[in-house]
């Protein structure tokens, strides 16, 4: 088209016109236009696989577009590497960080720069970096080693790296997916400080309320096409955004039948376990899950949720206490024992635990079924049956890929999660532990996962749902336990109706370490 003839708009820092990017079998970006103004936070929304990361990777010089042009400050620029992009003032923070764990924050920030060349005068740079952090509200100790930092702090290091390189445009790909609620607030403070100082931010997220809260304008992609271009975020409702993303109405409320709990399926009794660093992570934790109910586990990330799911699935040593599944002890047994006794596990870490990145979708979906007929046939694998299964799951779970022999490393975050869920649910488990199953999923997909979890419950399975999203827990669970520093602070039942303020308040207090009895006692005391 005649896009290049239009006069450049001086208020724009970046203008992408008619970007086309194709992958084998997928048109990830189909003539996408995108405009970023000076000093704005621009939300980029879209369902899984819509092409958001692809578009931003083009802007960050990671991919080269097949058609279309990019203008920076009104001038057409040629991007052929991330280094080019940074030279033009554009930097991206990816969802998985690229830091060297054994080095300090300062060393990581300086890594790959030409200056300093030979002699590292680290203390000087420590100071510089601390100042830079100060300016943008990024609190992190420049001398700390990366491995000592929380995920939130590591993200700050990634942002610092970009700021240190002097970028004017910062792209953040799903930055909040890895953060705890307080950390999200901190990130927002930083982003606002950045735009106040004239920088611009592109913010990718699936969480509509976040986008409404932080972004000035929003662009929505659907299947590689723009469905809303730079609309003011104040002017659109959550419902409208959701419709623009998925192309249909999304029902936020779930339709939940009354709970008919049966026998206790999973029983966790007085469990103690250490984390990877050898420090106590679970300290006498007990809970149970009955057949036909969803039990939520609420808590701020890092309070022992991951360790608990690992102890249950047999991947972590249980120091004391035990876990039983339908009467059989599963703790300190092999992972295989749990699998053979109907346990499904959706791990928190999709890429490092839940999947084998270089193997195909087919190979990934048979991970727990390859031992048995019809896939296994006297020690040989029937790859036709396996491929058929994979194709069925691809259909049923809406996994968007050209074919099932694609290595899963090429899948978008949401599609990978669907592969894992498809694998776990299709095993018809009697018990399922799902850790953050909707993390990184779009609203439509979340709705789908919620429906799947509820259908598990209706089919009589016991489900333990670990999540940091209180809203999700409250809408799906029949009971909620709250975990804090490896202990259960209390248990509350969730009625079918809208949860009242009090309940949310109570759970919030438990999440910060107040046991339920104490809250009740004080509540009673204050009423007296």
């Amino acid at each position: 088209m005649n896009t290049s003839k239009t006069a450049p708009d001086p208020s724009l820092v970046v203008e992408m016109r008619g970007i086309v990017k194709r992958f084998p079998g997928v048109l990830a970006n189909d003539h996408v236009d995108f405009e970023l103004r000076h000093g704005e936070i621009h939300g980029l929304l879209g369902e899984n696989g819509a092409g958001k990361s692809t578009l931003m990777n083009v802007l960050a010089g990671m991919y080269r577009q097949e058609a279309g042009i990019i203008l920076v400050n009104g001038e057409p620029k040629n991007f052929s590497s991330p280094r080019d992009a940074i030279n033009f003032g554009i930097g991206m923070v990816h969802q998985h960080f690229m830091l060297v764990p054994s080095q300090t924050v300062t060393e990581n920030v300086l890594l790959g720069l030409d200056d300093p060349r030979f002699f590292l005068r680290l203390p000087d740079y420590d100071l510089k970096i601390a100042e830079l952090g100060e300016r943008f509200g990024l609190k992190v100790d420049p001398r700390a080693k990366i491995w000592q930092l929380s995920v939130g702090e590591q993200q700050r290091v990634e942002i610092l790296k970009m700021l240190y390189r002097g970028v004017d445009v910062l792209i953040m790909d799903e930055p909040t997916a890895v953060l705890a609620p307080q950390e999200i607030e901190g990130l927002f403070v930083t982003l606002r400080a950045m735009v106040a100082q004239g920088k611009s931010v592109i913010f990718i997220s699936h969480k509509l309320q976040e986008v409404s809260a932080i972004a000035d304008r929003v662009t929505v992609l659907r299947r590689g096409v723009v469905t809303a271009a730079g609309v003011a975020s104040k002017g659109v409702s959550r419902q409208e955004l959701a419709r623009l993303m998925v192309g249909r109405d999304v029902i936020f409320a779930v339709d939940k039948k009354p709970c008919q709990p049966g026998e206790i399926v999973l029983d966790v009794r007085d469990v103690h376990a250490d984390n990877d660093k050898g420090l106590p992570a679970l300290r006498g934790l007990s809970l149970n899950v009955r057949a036909g109910e969803i039990v939520g586990l609420a808590g701020v990330a890092g309070n022992g949720q991951s360790e608990l799911s690992q102890v249950i699935s047999g991947m972590r040593e249980c120091k004391q206490g035990k876990v039983t599944l339908g009467g059989d002890t599963v703790s300190n047994r092999t992972t295989l024992f749990g699998i053979q006794h109907g346990m499904a596990y959706v791990p928190e870490d999709r890429t490092h635990v839940g999947s084998a990145p270089n193997l195909s979708i087919t190979d990934n979906v048979i991970m727990k079924k390859y031992r048995k007929a019809p896939i296994s046939n006297r020690g040989l694998l029937d790859m036709k049956v396996a491929a058929k299964l994979a194709n069925e799951l691809k259909q049923a779970y809406d996994i968007v890929v050209p074919n099932v022999s694609t290595p899963v490393r090429l899948l978008s975050g949401g599609n990978l999660q669907r592969v894992i869920l498809a694998r776990e649910i299709s095993g018809l488990p009697s018990f399922m532990v799902a850790v953050q199953p909707t993390r990184g999923l779009d609203v439509g997909a979340i709705e789908g996962v919620h429906r799947l979890l509820l259908s598990q419950r209706e089919a009589g399975a016991a489900v333990l749902l670990v999540s940091e999203e209180l809203e999700e827990l409250l809408s799906l669970s029949d009971r909620v336990y709250v975990i804090y520093e490896g202990k259960i602070m209390g248990e509350v039942a969730i009625g079918g109706e809208v949860p009242d303020e009090n309940l949310v308040e109570t759970i919030g207090q438990m999440m910060t370490g107040t046991p339920l009895e104490q809250i009740r006692k004080e509540g009673v005391a204050s009423h007296d």
């Binding site: 295989l336 596990y345 490092h352 635990v353 839940g354 390859y370 040989l380």
Partner: protein, 374 residues
Amino acid sequence: MTESTSLQKKRAAWRIRIEPHLNEPPPWYPVLVSIGALIIALILGGILILVAGGDPIRSYQHIAKAAFGNVGVLSDTIVKATPILLAALACSVAFRMKLWNIGAEGQFIMGAFGASAIILTPILPAETPRWIFIPVMMMAGMAAGAVWGFIPGYLKAKFNVNEIISTLMLNYVAIAWINFWIFGVWTEGGFQMTAKFPENSWLPRLLDYAETFPVFRGLTTHFGLVIGILAAIVLWLIVYRSRWGYEIRLIGDNPHAAQYAGINIMRNTIWVMMLSGALAGLGGMSEVTGVVHRLQTSPVAAGYGFTGIIVAWLAKLNPLVIILVSILFGGLILAGREIQPSGVPKMIQGIILVCLIASDFLLRYRISIERGEE
């Protein structure tokens, strides 16, 4: 400030940039790159020959003739390729699980020892018929190799002992071990070799059938080739079509996911190292009963286990591709022997190797040369 800008200007003239490939290269790309590497290697070699005052075209013709020129040398090439093939298969299966077994050499030697022990102890009398001798020796060779694989496998699984070091060390132990038997126990009149094996323990060779098929006259290609090709096919089936192979691939790609899928990594470590050792041992057996016909250090410990590492790697661990790459290497080794004085094939062998390994880099990185602006 000014200093740094002028510095930048100086550096900005021409730049070579190396960046990881971000887009998935199409499937034909690796093949094309490998062929390209081969051609570049030949051109480079040609230039060197030219500089040294030779005629590159004639030299290449000579090498091609020496390695593949007629049925006779082709047969010799295949004889050289056979031990490499089995050693490379051994390496490939271990590498697939990211077990860095560089002890195929030692396992190969032990396989040769195991097979020899059947004859020399003697476990079977010298007049045993061939159809009993050969299977028993195959078993013995595989078993001895498997033991040599089991040791590092067990140490790795139970005590997390680095297999690179343990397998490397065991190579030297294996040489010392057979030297002890060759010099001390089975020595043939004090020479550094054992007595010649009885003919009914030899692997059948094509020349054995020269009476019925006169074309086979003088061809030393032996039954080891069949063993090697069958082993490659079976290994392919194991890796890509069996339950066990699935476990091996899963562990190799992501051990955490394998553990999550309920796979016993320790047990697989031991089994895969044993399989790897058994394949290398089979290679040793095939060499000693098909070519050398006696246990002797230098022709057995000739570095096939190390060549196997390179071949496995260049074949991207694919058992069927290993067959082809082994034959190429067999040819180069043979040509090296045939026209030794000039040393040219050795050099070309080295150049091809360097080019192929360097081309691997091309598969992962994009190299561009550009004119800096500003």
